[in-house]
Amino acid sequence: MLIDMNKLPFENLKRKPLRTTALLAVVVVLSLALFGGSILATNLNTGMASMERRLGADLMVVPQNTAQKAEALLTDGSPTTFYLTKDVADQISQADGVAQATQQTYISSLAAACCDEKLQIIGYDPATDFVIEPWVAEQFDGTLEDGQMLAGANVNVSADGTIELYGRDWPVVAQLASTGTNLDNSVFINQTTVPAMVEASAKVATQVMPEEYAGKAVSSVLINVAEGYTAETVATNIQNLDASFKDLGFVYPGGITATTRTSLNTLVAYLTLFIAVLWVMGAIVLIAVFSTSANERKREFASLRIMGATRGMLNTIILKESAVIGLTGGVLGVAVASLVIFPFSSLIGRQLQLPYLQAGPLLICGMIVLAVASAVVLSVVGSLLTMWRLGRPEAYLTLREGE
């Protein structure tokens, strides 16, 4: 193949491996930071939005000293077991200002075959539930029968559609969409299945709760308050129902959401600042390197001008070289970031201790295009100064300095 002006930029890049590699390295780091940071921030926001949708209650009433465990259950804590009795739960449900109330029972399993870690078993009452059912409805529109299970997104269901738990195979009727919260490591059963689960646990391991409580254990009462009431007012009303209710735990999901949102916003702000600083520094480095190499290349450009190259041809050479570096560096940066972020998504989520939910493929494709395009644009912008200098009238006088 004969050399021509189209191939010249590629020859220039090929024959200057050190300079090309150095420029590529800068662009790779910038593209990696932009794409990695954007994915991270998006996944955190997606996780947060999912968590906000899942915490559809104004108030959560739990036994004494278990409020923290309950909060952890909603975000990213370890599976847990705590309970009060159904008669107490029923009284709570009758308090002034309660518009809707439903009861849930939480049981922490032993490590099971289905899962890397302990499993959170959540018993809920489909008849009164207003928290889980709207979410479940996206994947399952039937009725959850006794002994059946709904599995969270991270739970491994056997090929035959069951989960082995406490030596028994439990049929799974649906697997739920990922939420980015601890609910993904949970299985859901109806309240009437709870005694069967307790009984099964007694046969193979330490019983999860005394048998006499199996039929009346309630871990939390989830409440939506009536219009004109605040969650705090209703909590006070509940405490006033009985002297023994003074020590009950009260969790305000809206508050948890707000706290988590604050942590997330802080993290995203730092991340954005870090990426912005990195990009400004990267842009300066690229401009400096392009500009320095342009000085070194005055002789080369003078030579091309003498041979008959137009100013446009010289600009095209610089533009192509910078665009190729931007494109290659951008793609490499996205590839490296993807190798880290996608396979280790759940680990990242755990380490951050924030709701973390992988964004959809369309959004990811958009971010790939954005990261690569930004890398190309930055590289081209970095070379604009050089092009401007070459485009000045009497450029040859400057170019001749290279002779």
Partner: protein, 230 residues
């Protein structure tokens, strides 16, 4: 009509706020097939003159006409095309592209402005090889410029300048780095170019090179005068 017509050409520079003429009111006609040499001490405006002829430096006044084209009136593209197709330029210093082989350096001017009736690649390669052979550097075709001596680079530059069969060949000190044998080869080649119809304008310090020229001019303090007695 002369292939190269220079009329009252002046280039004025300013040094320490004082203007001076690097090239002063120069008139010169070079016909096709004529070999003109310009001699003179360094800093007397020879390079400025040939840079103005090639349209690389804009004159303060006067005009340069090449093959019927007034250089100052041409757009960047027209001027670039003129440099590529009508002018062959051998510079005083090394201006080979370091990232290309010797062969690619010589071929590049021929592929710079693609044409509908462009020669086949094989023809271009054959022409480049032939030029390099005539200049005695054919064995260096696959080498890169950094592997060449100063004299070899100069000869490759001449081959590059001749690649598009220019009507006007401008050579700034073409024998500057060459030994006697190479000087003879280069000057013989330039003479042959002139004999075959190319107008050759050479700037030189080398007295041995002058005998190949048809006319010799002297440049002194920017003023060009015809030298008699050659």
């Amino acid at each position: 009509m002369a292939l190269l017509a220079i009329t009252d050409l002046t280039k004025c520079f300013t040094r320490r706020d004082k203007p001076f003429d690097a090239v002063s009111h120069v008139n010169l006609m070079v016909d096709a097939g004529e070999f003109v040499a310009i001699v003179g001490r360094s800093g007397n405006g020879k390079s400025t003159l040939i840079n103005m002829i090639a349209g690389l430096v804009r004159p303060t006044s006067g005009s340069v006409t090449i093959d019927g084209n007034v250089v100052a009136d041409l757009s960047d593209r027209e001027l670039s095309l003129l440099r590529n197709r009508t002018i062959g330029f051998v510079t005083q210093s090394q201006t080979l592209l370091s990232n290309l082989t010797v062969l690619d350096n010589v071929i590049l001017p021929a592929t710079m402005f693609p044409e509908d009736k462009a020669p086949e690649p094989e023809q271009l390669i054959a022409r480049a090889e032939n030029l390099l052979k005539q200049l005695g550097v054919a064995e260096l075709m696959e080498s890169y410029p950094r592997e060449l001596s100063g004299g070899e680079m100069r000869r490759v530059s001449i081959a590059r300048a001749l690649m598009n069969s220019p009507k006007l060949l401008i050579a700034d000190e073409p024998t500057g780095d060459l030994d006697q044998e190479s000087t003879d080869i280069v000057m013989q080649l330039l003479r042959e170019q002139a004999d075959s119809g190319t107008a050759v304008l050479m700037v030189t310090h080398d007295p041995d090179a002058l005998r190949y020229a048809d006319n010799v001019y002297r440049m002194d303090a920017g003023v060009l005068t015809e030298q008699t007695g050659q």
